[in-house]
């Protein structure tokens, strides 16, 4: 059972998409798992063949449980975010090893065919104490799903999961907070002109510009992009931006859009639209849940002027955007009225300091002045 977030302890195997003897490619969805945050399509990171399915649909098992045994085949292009060498290990073991900075190649696996299990990683030398678990909570009988609820989403369980992650964040992470007001006149004017030329199905939201500008700024100041694990900051090699998406029936998830810094605005917009639709339908993919290296939350639609968010551990920063408001704005000795957005940074003081955080916000503001280069 893969760990699909720092707050996940167990999951229910809902269905298999494969059977013994089936071959699969890296990135294929092999199963669907129900978590506190909805149904998640579990992808596999190596090509190979299914040997045996060990968990039956409908069974709830702890994170780290081996769901199936496989015979894997080396591939030429390893999954980019995974720094581990190609050894057989369960997804939970890989996740835990990544969080603790442990080299999987140095661990003796005790699972099927010598696969490394989460338990093996737990017992590995120099392993940090286990992630503080969320308090055990009784599982209430599933209430009748309201008509507006997405399938597979238990809002009470989701609230508990959010509570556990946010409490851990505030307990462990020394946050510091910065903000900057940004004149987004050039960006909004450019976007309006762009969207005028586009059919409605290809329009780009301002949120896509904010995501791209954030990713490019993170490339300049990498201390905000990565994880704090095993007592040290570990910068991420890629920029996978977690996007805070609220559910209509309440609750929040922040799945990743991958490699935002390398994608066009049109690509980001398309992925954002797809992501929001699948979040609200309760169908995310495992990589989207586990891969964010930095999170962005945007509460502008709610009329909020600014938001200082809580970092999702083990990430080290969260960027917030408020509403674009017309405000008095002095520039070049002249006072005018400009559309302005307040961008904020909540950052982990163990990974960066205010000076670097300030440079990040300055880079973000600068990027938004040249929207045509985003």
């Amino acid at each position: 059972m893969p760990s699909l977030g720092a707050d996940m302890e167990a999951g229910t195997l809902v269905e298999w998409h494969v059977k013994p003897g089936d071959s699969f490619e890296r990135g294929d969805v092999v199963a669907v798992v129900e978590t506190d945050k909805g149904l998640v399509e579990v992808e596999i990171w190596e090509g190979g063949t299914i040997d045996a399915l060990l968990v039956k649909p409908g069974t709830k098992v702890p994170v780290g449980t081996v769901l199936a045994t496989t015979t894997t085949q080396p591939t030429e292009a390893p999954r980019a975010p995974s720094p581990e060498p190609r050894v057989q290990a369960s997804p939970a073991a890989r996740q835990l090893a990544r969080e603790r900075g442990i080299d999987l190649a140095k661990i003796h696996g005790t699972g099927p065919h010598g696969a490394i299990t989460r338990d093996d990683v737990e017992k590995a030398p120099h392993a940090a104490p286990a992630v503080v678990p969320s308090p055990a909570a009784p599982s209430p009988a599933p209430p009748p799903a309201p008509t507006a609820a997405a399938p597979g989403i238990d809002t009470a369980a989701m609230r508990r999961a959010i509570a556990a992650a946010m409490a851990r964040s505030k307990r462990e992470i020394p946050h510091y907070y910065l903000s900057i007001d940004v004149d987004v006149g050039p960006a909004t004017a450019w976007l309006e002109a762009e969207n005028t030329r586009r059919p409605v199905t290809e329009r780009v939201l301002f949120a896509a510009l904010l995501l791209k500008a954030t990713a490019l700024a993170a490339r300049e100041v990498p201390e905000v992009n990565g994880f704090f694990v095993d007592g040290a900051f570990r910068p991420a090699g890629e920029i996978h931006v977690g996007v805070g998406v609220s559910l209509r029936q309440g609750g929040l998830v922040a799945p990743a859009i991958h490699d935002v810094d390398r994608k066009s605005l049109v690509e980001i917009q398309a992925e954002l639209r797809d992501l929001v639709a699948r979040v609200r339908a309760g169908r995310l993919r495992s990589s989207e849940m586990t891969d964010p290296t930095l999170t962005v939350t945007n509460l502008g639609d709610q009329g909020v002027a600014s938001v200082f968010g809580v970092i999702y551990p083990p990430q080290v920063a969260l960027v917030g955007f408020g509403r674009v408001l017309e405000r008095p704005w002095a520039s070049g000795g002249m006072l005018g009225v400009r559309p302005v957005v307040t961008a904020t940074l909540s950052a982990d003081h163990r990974a960066s300091d205010g000076h670097r955080g300030g440079l990040f916000l300055a880079a973000l503001a600068r990027r938004l002045q040249k929207p045509e280069e985003l």
Partner: protein, 86 residues
């Protein structure tokens, strides 16, 4: 696109809204109050509403006209005018 009556347009607009806000109850929706507030629509929802209107009725709503479809009545009026060639 064949001419449509106002009830048909209303039905189509409600259908487009339902696609982004499945909990929509037409009996409690105030046709003169902003849809964003009544249905908790965000920018993505509103874009999807515009896309759904286009798919259902062939009406393209440019961004500068979003304010005109901010309410149910406004949406019906806007679409009616567009379909009539205004």
């Amino acid at each position: 696109m064949s001419p449509k009556s106002r009830p048909e347009i209303r039905e189509a607009v409600l259908g487009a809204l339902s696609s982004v806000a499945p909990e929509l109850d037409p009996t409690t929706l105030d046709p003169k109050q902003p849809l964003r507030e009544q249905l908790d629509l965000d920018s993505m929802d509103f874009l999807n509403f515009a896309v759904a209107l286009h798919a259902a009725l062939g009406v393209d709503v440019p961004e500068r006209d979003y304010a005109k479809i901010a309410t149910l009545d406004g949406s019906i009026e806007y679409v009616s005018a567009k379909l009539a060639g205004a």
